[in-house]
């Protein structure tokens, strides 16, 4: 093998690859990578070339190998894998002669109904052709396929179900989720799950709750599998109808680090939580480094003289005292009112993660009253429990449970103001929507005078700031910085800037 020109700045792009790969495939890969970049994945030129090199080493007919070759070279974050998979499915599920990637691809031609019907018919023991299946027969087939966990059969059922129930029409401008919903509604998968469990119970005889749980998981897994098949089928048909680029565009979803805290789904939230931990470690590492690389302390006279003795009394080597490393002290003051509820949940997780990294973290939550919740997070193993306690036990409501920053800050200043010292960094998290109450921004100013830093993190887009009842501008003039933190990427940016 000759040296491959993987050096950066070669700039040759796809030209650097010998034309063993067909032009069509090169072009397809190029489009694929462009789409990955459009979806937000950072694919560098080096990685691009690596990918082109890698696919030469895998049997091109093997879809899975092909996928792993591309994945290993192009996707370097686990969080991005899902996005990669989606784009891959869109780009390489096509038929069409010039795009033949996988000959053994199970996807036959769309119109090849007889074949599907026969396959399914055979497995069922002599049913009619696919077109003539009654809904009952299809349901029975679905049940059987799930019962046996027969992947091939599930594929067939998925295809039939989409054809029958999704009601897809060419050129209709609706998304895949609409078709998915229509298909699933007709299949009644929950009912099927119950039936499966019953069936299992009958055949197995005795059935403890524990067994039941295991079987439920097993069948749920199979049903998820089926659902994936259905999604894939719908996607495939949509791609055939609309073309690759358009389809890839509609399927594009924000990467985990770009997901808005305020509008995150449950699943996205779970991913975010996992991502917080590395981030706080980074934060801790940065602060640590600053402490370690800090300036040296004042001259240590005694040690200097002692050291000078080995040079005959000449103080060649001045000795310094070790600097007193300051331990960062962090106060987190978080709004947990309804308007920022989603963000607040995230905030609490962040607080929990931070308190694991720093020795002195105190956390406060407020709505119109304010309460310290540091103790809830101490020595707690289950964060959800702590969050639950914060939401139920903390005394944060003063009058009506609508945000009142002014009053909350007043309580904070009165009760805890004396604890703020020159080593304290205060992080205030909230949207500063004050319901037209008094701002009392002088308190923030006082805080700034006493504390080392005061930062304001706002989960709202910057363009919304100071509109309506938002008075973040009034507060932030007394802060060392106000940051828009709507997603993980921005939070990371804040951490990087912080130290």
């Amino acid at each position: 093998m000759t040296a491959i020109s993987t050096s950066e700045g070669n700039g040759a792009g796809t030209q650097a690859v010998p034309l063993e790969l067909g032009d069509a495939i090169l072009e397809l890969l190029n489009g694929f990578i462009i789409e990955l970049r459009a979806a937000g994945l950072p694919v560098s030129l080096t990685e691009n070339l690596d990918a082109l090199e890698a696919v030469k080493h895998v049997p091109i007919g093997d879809r899975e190998s092909f996928k792993y070759a591309l994945g290993a070279t192009l996707v370097k974050h686990y969080n991005h894998w899902k996005a990669f998979e989606t784009v891959f499915e869109v780009y390489f599920s096509l038929r069409g002669k010039e795009y033949v990637i996988a000959e053994d691809d199970e996807f036959g031609d769309l119109d090849d109904d007889e074949l599907d019907g026969d396959q399914l018919g055979d497995q069922q023991g002599g049913g009619g052709a696919g077109e003539n299946l009654s809904p009952e027969e299809l349901a029975e087939m679905l049940f059987q396929s799930l019962m046996r966990g027969d992947a091939q059969m599930m594929k067939g059922v998925a295809r039939q179900a989409v054809r029958r129930f999704a009601g897809m029409e060419p050129g209709r401008p609706v998304g895949g989720t609409y078709y998915l919903y229509r298909t699933l509604r007709n299949l009644d998968l929950d009912g099927v799950l119950e039936r499966l469990l019953q069936q299992a119970q009958e055949t197995q005889g005795e059935f403890s709750e524990f067994d039941q749980r295991l079987w439920r998981d097993e069948y749920q897994q199979r049903i998820d599998q089926l659902q994936k098949e259905i999604e894939a089928e719908i996607r495939r048909r949509l791609v055939a109808d609309r073309g690759v680029e358009a389809m890839a565009k509609t399927l594009r979803k924000p990467l985990p680090e770009d997901v808005d805290f305020m509008h995150a789904s449950r699943e996205e939230m779970a991913n975010l939580r996992k991502a917080i931990y590395p981030l706080t470690r980074k934060l801790a590492a940065r602060l640590q480094r600053k402490r370690r690389h800090g300036r040296r302390g004042p001259l240590d006279f005694r040690r200097t003289v002692r050291a000078s003795l080995s040079y005959g009394g000449v103080p060649v080597e001045p000795k310094f005292r070790n600097p007193n490393p300051h331990k960062p002290e962090i106060f987190v003051v978080a709004d947990i009112s309804g308007s920022v509820a989603a963000f607040a949940r995230f905030t609490l997780h962040l607080v929990y993660a931070i308190s694991g990294q720093f020795s002195k973290v105190r956390s406060f939550v407020f709505i119109d009253g304010l309460d310290e919740v540091t103790s809830y997070f101490e020595g707690v193993e289950d964060i959800n429990e702590a969050v639950h306690r914060v939401n139920t036990e903390a005394d944060v409501v003063w009058v009506d449970g609508h945000s009142d920053y002014g009053h909350a800050f007043g309580v904070f200043w009165q009760k805890y103001g004396k604890d703020i010292g020159p080593r304290t960094s205060i992080m205030i998290l909230g949207d500063a929507r004050n319901n037209y109450h008094a701002a009392e921004s002088w308190i923030v100013k006082e805080m700034q005078d006493k504390a080392r830093h005061v930062y304001w993190l706002n989960p709202e887009p910057r363009s919304y700031w100071d509109t309506g009842d938002s008075i973040v501008g009034e507060y932030s003039q007394h802060c060392d910085g106000a940051f828009e933190v709507r997603n993980l990427r921005q939070l990371e940016g804040f951490v990087e800037n912080l130290v």
């Binding site: 080493h57 290993a72 974050h77 524990f210 749980r213 980074k282 480094r289």
Partner: protein, 293 residues
């Protein structure tokens, strides 16, 4: 240029012979690493066999495994090379009387003889094909990562006093990370990326059967199922593969033939390491109807 592996299938078989059950993805990426001469960055939850992969590959190849365990505070002197200061000193002192000229002496004391090789340099300068394992690379600071870059992309080490030492053979390099922190882009760009997750049901069962030969197939199947169900619950630390194996061993020792509720909850402490997790799982596993995904 000869390659280590003929094809993916043979690599997979080889790994299986040394009791490492890979899947298409794992074997495929290792195979590519050999073909493209690139390091592999293996990431994934703790206890999914990342380190074992490197060990097994070296076993398959019948080559030496050079291991660099990373930790906070790892530096050049421990990762790359160090001058043997004491020996240099001895050399200077023993020479003092003979009146060598300075140039000769300094050339002499900065030569191979006085160089202490550390894992990275050792892997580069080895003449036999080796497998280099850089374990838990996420533990070093971001700045220390830079130490690795030269070796990973060019397979060479530059020593100011000696010049550049180039590899006489390209080692197969594995880096593992538990993802406690984001690795730098520069490092990632130089590697192939492999994410090793918990195995699926079938593979986990196979692993249990391989590692605990005395277990019955039926029990292995149950073990895998229970573990899968447990992993679906949100826990502080989900059971890893090695814990699954430990659990299977325990069950065999206890003479269990079929896992019942009671045996499961009695032995949970082998699968789970946090009291809160154990409590949670014990509660959830027995109330089947309470949970629907």
């Amino acid at each position: 240029m000869s390659f280590r592996f003929k094809d993916v299938a043979s690599l997979k078989d080889g790994l299986q012979r040394v009791d490492y059950l890979s899947d298409e993805g794992i074997a495929g990426v290792v195979y590519l690493a050999d073909r493209l001469q690139k390091p592999v960055l293996v990431e994934g939850p703790a206890g999914t066999g990342k380190t074992q992969l490197a060990k097994s590959v070296s076993e398959v190849l019948g080559t030496r495994l050079i291991r660099l365990q990373c930790y906070e505070g790892l530096d050049e002197a421990k990762a790359l090379y160090e001058w043997n200061y004491k020996k240099q000193l001895l050399r200077i002192q023993s020479d003092g009387s003979e009146g060598h000229d300075w140039d000769g002496l300094s050339d002499d004391i900065f030569s191979d003889e006085f160089l202490l090789t550390r894992p990275l340099l050792e892997a580069i300068s080895a003449t036999d094909p080796v497998v280099l394992l850089i374990d838990e690379v996420d533990r070093v600071e971001v700045e220390t990562e830079a130490l690795l870059l030269e070796i990973l992309s060019d397979y060479q080490v530059s020593i100011p006093e000696l010049g550049t030492i180039e590899a006489s053979q390209i080692p197969l390099v594995f880096l593992t990370s538990n993802n406690t922190r984001e690795l730098s882009e520069a490092l990632k760009r130089r590697c192939l990326y492999l994410h090793v997750d918990y195995p699926d049901l079938e593979r986990e069962k196979e692993i249990v059967l391989t590692k605990v030969p005395e277990i019955t197939e039926n029990l292995a199947d149950q073990v895998a199922r229970v573990v899968r169900s447990i992993r679906q619950i949100e826990l502080k630390k989900a059971p890893s593969v090695s814990e699954t194996i430990d659990w299977a061993r325990t069950l065999v020792l206890l003479g269990v033939e079929k896992i019942e509720e009671q045996t499961a909850s009695d032995t949970l402490n082998i699968l789970l390491k946090y009291q809160s997790d154990i409590k949670k799982v014990a509660k959830e596993l027995v109330t089947a109807d309470g949970v629907s995904v």
